[in-house]
Amino acid sequence: MHEASAQPVVHRHAPPQGFIRKYVFSLDHKVIGLQYYGLALAAVFIGMVLSWLMRIHLGWPALPFPGLNKLSPNGAPGGLMTPEYYLSLMTMHGTIMVFFVLTNAPQAGFGNYFLPIQIGAEDMAFPRFNMMSFWVTFLAFVVLIAAFFVTDGPPISGWTAYAPLSAVGRDAGPGQALGQTLWGISIALFCIGQLLGSLNFISTTLDLRTRGMSLARMPYSTWAWFVTSVIGLLAFAVLLPACILLILDRVAGTSFFIPAGLVVSDKLQPHAGGSPLLWQHLFWFFGHPEVYIAILPSIGIVSHILPSFLRKNILGGARTVVGSLIAFGFLSYMVWGHHMFLSGMNPFSAILFSVPTLIITIPATIVVLLWLGSIYGAKIRFDSPALFCLGFISLFISGGISGFFLAQPSIDIQLHATYFVVAHFHLVMAVAAIFGIFAGTYFWAPKMFGRMMNETLAKWHFWLTFIGVYCIFMPMHYIGLAGNVRRYALFNDDYMIPMNPVHKFMTIAALATGAVQLIFLYNLFHTRFWGKKAPDNPWESTTLEWSTPSSPPPFDNFGGKYPVVYRSPYEFVEGGAADYVIQTSPVEVGTH
């Protein structure tokens, strides 16, 4: 039927014509991946600005912020932030960052772009679903941002939206009217977008691999995107009904999450029979796998990038790395109660949830040790992707270690709801995962844009950000141990007043580190339009994306041919013209 060497392709869709088809309603996974990445970029800057406002307020609460009263006359009269405004900034910051940045960029962004290419496919299995999933996500983002502009303002219940605060409606205070309902609708739409995406990723990975690309020969990043999609398929399927039930409580008079006898703002609420703990169970059953959705792609991306800069494979190879990813995914479903140790649920269950939570430390330790063991004896090339990967390792160690404390109920008694928790999740999610995204950007920019990013700027970006994030988040551990409570708009309690200087320090670090990100933004945009032309395989890497006939790849990725794969990814050899063997090479000799 088809011969191995001449592989004519029946294109599943013709090359797009016209601006709208090419760049707006595109079916091309590469364009969709960049659209997701662009959405995440916009979201991260909005989320970051929100965090700057929060940190300035926490550092200098008595200082009027010029112009803020114009932005929000109710929220910041005279430029001084009201507590509810602070809480609404915090809620939107968390929601935007967790959903629209961390679930988007490393998975939907890079995954959409590179998964088909890394397995030798022409596109995703369902390009129309793919396009739909992006636009549904975009719609979700618009609905969320709309909450900023409604009369009562955005919700104040945190990204976790605990009931009854989130469920009783406007009696609960500012932000809890239309803003909270819009939040619910936005997240429900987001779930649908993610589910469509997961269906695509899983079926593409299982069904569209080119000849020779067995599951064992897939790059670590592909495996990570695959495992993350499986987790997402199950997790978002639970958040969707939870949000719908929450919306019903708010608009249809149901009481899923609201017990009887509540008196809010002096009004007896007409609800009965519901349970606030039910919301927590449903939310965290989604919420814990969600944070693994946030970190696993970066773990995959870092594991994928490192070999090119160590000139050797990760210790243990596919079996151990992929085994750890799968262990993470599996265990992530058994631990949700560790967010609820003190919630009022049966205290015996705290012990039950604590055990698998601690056991997750094992695959986490394994991957860190594998990375360290790979660096041993390597020949490290210190380009910017490598620096961000190495920085990731350090940050993942730091962030992971604090988890070990919180996993134990006896210690969580003291650290729950303090800045220790804030330190933990920011280090693993906000910092480590973002370093994974940076590493991916610097690594894949030559392929996506056909241009090299400026290495000098990239290195400045790295050093200053690396120092900056430690300055912001390391002190949070200390004040958390001292009992600094989180989600507070001000620290007026006697024992917290002495910690205010630490807050000032962290604010300055946050603003400085935020400013440094402008270097990245400038570098990214300058490169996209005016960067130096990149060779096809600038990092001398081994996987299929570096075998495309052009950068950026042609619309069908491989220019009219399907590649044939002869070997595992990450093969490096001694002798020969080069020290690496690309996956499409039939012979095990290093050639450029």
Binding site: I156, I413, R487
Partner: protein, 267 residues
């Protein structure tokens, strides 16, 4: 050069951060409870165990990056002796042991505070949490608490608990105050309710924290061993006044407490 800079930076960050942990520059406040030493012990053990892993991990990273830059000298690439098997085994055994030990000891600490029932002679105090204050209720000389009627709660009249003294005899002598006064060295049982949102009761010095869920009555118990005034802070986001929701725990001698209670009942 880059590798050395990275190694140096990571080493400095590690040493500085660890120093602040070791020096207890910011640390837990004093422990005034009977069960708290268990929590502190667990925390310290974990701090040491993870501290070693933290320092070792970061310094290994730092030194490997320092040592293994590509010096373009044609040196052969080395593989870690023992391969992945060493890493996997080490991780499973080391972390596995830590998990077992910490879980075994930690469960007892947890159980002593949250699963074990309160002593039979514990003094029961009723707690009402609402947006944005805590109120405390003592049963008065009859030793009985009046029934709570949520629809009768009226902050303006000071009827925070929704009591009905006109029709409920047990409610008539209930003492309702805004501070939690307790006698030292006496087991205390708090039965906590919320009127509106989920709140949380946290006293860092007591090593005790518990969410107060509307629709449930949540019990916690403890014994304080040192007199003094300590802060109770709300730790579950409950609305715009969450940051200002606090009360004071006043641990008094038995005599001082009796005197205090008499004064409160008087007015």
């Amino acid at each position: 050069m880059t590798g050395k800079l990275f190694g140096l930076l990571v080493a400095i960050i590690t040493i500085v951060s660890t120093a602040f942990f070791v020096m207890h520059t910011w640390w837990l406040p004093q422990d005034i409870s009977t069960h708290g030493h268990g929590v502190d012990h667990q925390l310290n053990e974990t701090m040491i165990g993870t501290g070693i892993l933290f320092v070792a991990g970061q310094l290994v990273l730092a030194s490997f990056v320092w040592l293994y830059g590509d010096k373009k000298d044609g040196r052969k690439i080395k593989s870690f002796p023992g391969g992945a098997a060493v890493m996997v085994t080490f991780a499973i055994i080391l972390v596995g042991i830590e998990i077992l030990v910490l879980t075994f000891v930690g469960s007892r600490v947890w159980a002593s505070a949250y699963i074990a029932p309160p002593p039979a002679d514990a003094m029961q105090i009723d707690v009402a949490a609402e947006q944005f204050a805590f109120y405390f209720r003592y049963p008065g000389p009859d030793g009985k608490f009046g029934v709570i009627h949520p629809e009768m709660a009226n902050d303006a009249n000071g009827n925070y608990f929704g009591l009905n003294p006109a029709n409920d005899e047990a409610a008539r002598d209930d003492v309702v105050v805004g501070e939690l006064a307790i006698p030292v060295n006496r087991p205390i049982l708090l039965t906590m309710h919320s009127k509106d949102m989920i709140h949380s009761f946290f006293v860092p010095e007591l090593r005790l924290q518990q969410d107060i869920v509307p629709g449930l009555t949540v019990p916690i118990h403890f014994t304080a061993v040192k007199t003094g005034k300590y802060e109770i802070v709300c730790t579950q986001l409950c609305g715009l006044g969450h940051y200002s929701m606090r009360a004071y725990l006043e641990v008094k001698t038995q005599d001082e407490f009796d005197q205090w209670l008499k004064t409160q009942s008087g007015d």
